[in-house]
Symmetry: C2
Subunit: 351 residues, 2 copies
Amino acid sequence: MVLTLALDAMGGDAGPEMVVKGADLALRQAKGLFLRYLFFGHESSIEMELKKYPSLQKISSIVHSETIITNQTKPAIALRSGRKSNMGMAIDAVAKGQANAVVSAGNTGAYMALSKILLKTIGGIDRPAIPAILPTIKGKTVVLDLGANIDCTPENLVQFALMGEAFARQLLDIERPSVGLLNVGSEELKGNATVQSAAQLLRNFPDLNFKGFVEGDDITSGKTDVVVTDGFSGNIALKSIEGAARLIRHFLKGSLSGSLRGKLGYIIAKPAFDLVQTKSDPRMYNGAVFLGLRGIAVKSHGGTDFIGFANAIGVAISMIQHNFIKDIEERLSMLTSKEENLRAITPTMEA
Amino acid sequence: MVLTLALDAMGGDAGPEMVVKGADLALRQAKGLFLRYLFFGHESSIEMELKKYPSLQKISSIVHSETIITNQTKPAIALRSGRKSNMGMAIDAVAKGQANAVVSAGNTGAYMALSKILLKTIGGIDRPAIPAILPTIKGKTVVLDLGANIDCTPENLVQFALMGEAFARQLLDIERPSVGLLNVGSEELKGNATVQSAAQLLRNFPDLNFKGFVEGDDITSGKTDVVVTDGFSGNIALKSIEGAARLIRHFLKGSLSGSLRGKLGYIIAKPAFDLVQTKSDPRMYNGAVFLGLRGIAVKSHGGTDFIGFANAIGVAISMIQHNFIKDIEERLSMLTSKEENLRAITPTMEA
């Protein structure tokens, strides 16, 4: 099977140079797979970069676009350009079945808005959510939403839980993922009205491995396989974790280079440090999926380098390989079709 | 000057043994100061512990109480016991001027509720807030609120900003602390309605060094001296940072003990590691103040050990030494008394 990836060549702070270099790295990492790339953007600047990687060039096509959406383009303007822009054309390639997934490091708001319109949401999902896979003491945890939805209803959070569960089942290969709802305490009475109602709905949801409330430090302790939260708290939690990692790296560097003894220890233990660096490197976890769409759209961090972008492509490939949109659809059909389940949920929804 | 501290001897998971040992450590750390301790709780169990530390015993008195508030006591029940409980008596000692500050590792909800009733809030402050002092790449940052107030109005956030500013000026010794408002992006249009309105009010506040929105990773980067947020996001951010620190320590241990080379490097660099450990040790930042009260009440983490409790006592001592309640009162009088300032704020409050 050939996997075709639509890449927004103009997205990200570093543009075509970074995107093409990342695509080349992803190609070399995807051994045994047959990849094809479609690059969308300014033909000449993409071609210039592609020339540097002959084996990449062989499997790539360029689709030229005059209208370019940059990181400064407002979502409203981006929406108006629709299918005509580099980003819109890349997304549309997935909608039309010409590509299996789209990857962009461009403007998040524009990308989300265009994806929602061109790819549409899965039945039962009101709004797409952005999950992240984070390293934990036990392994990995899926956290969502990470910033796509600032204000959420309890029903939105329930939908996030179901999407996160399907995501964890497929990508982390866990049969029955446990789900926690992010709150300020694990006691049942803690938190605001929204998390209280969402917890009620989730407790009554049929066949869901719901573990109740979890706290900020449970994200990295790996208490549950999925952590559900609104985009406001989720974004703050994720960025706080990234910031803490940077702070500790800063402390380590400072204290280890402070004395000759520390320097020597650092030199001897360097390979071990590199391992930690890799494990806690945000680039290795780059590649946010817009969950809940009828097509696969992966968002790379705008400020990433080629290693991060290659990882985002890797996420897109995993998503294609796991038949994961179908899994979410089946899970959601439980919400909308099974009379008895509906009856089980309805009383608490009214409460 | 003699500083008298009222200590809740029964609070915290480890009870009198931990509290008394922590008080002894704090006494030895507070060189040059004249301390006096009042221990509130079961007389016999406190006395048994005090005997272990002769020089501590000399400066300590025990106030016996039959009614004990434990970590399991509900705030409503605790409120009913009022001044009669160990915790209520300790707080009341400050209200009556018998002690300069109270420190407890007990039940947060009960402690907050009793403190609010017995000590009262400063004029202009609707609700007390809990700040934390966190280590950053640049130094230290004050973050508030950390969980006392789950749902906040824009006006609450403005009050937190003023309290945080006074706190940073006094405890971090910064003349004109910069203030940031926690959000999901630093652009002006990001976030929910509450942070948008709060930012409007803060931008127009006279003589405030307001820097606009900051993000989760700006907490540890030290972008501003004060980070203001509601108790829901603040609690999640703080616990996420603590969790990330534990995760990285876990990675480091694992990778450094994975090979002989790593082990050797660790042994050589151990003093440097210890320094990092100390710098990122949450116990060193233990001691949350209930800001906005007319007396000094410090909350130690319930699960802390004696080192953390000693640090909480240290925070209480700093609070007494800096005349910081007066500073907040002066800052707030700007809100309530100066006509021209009120006029400057009013239009945006109505917007």
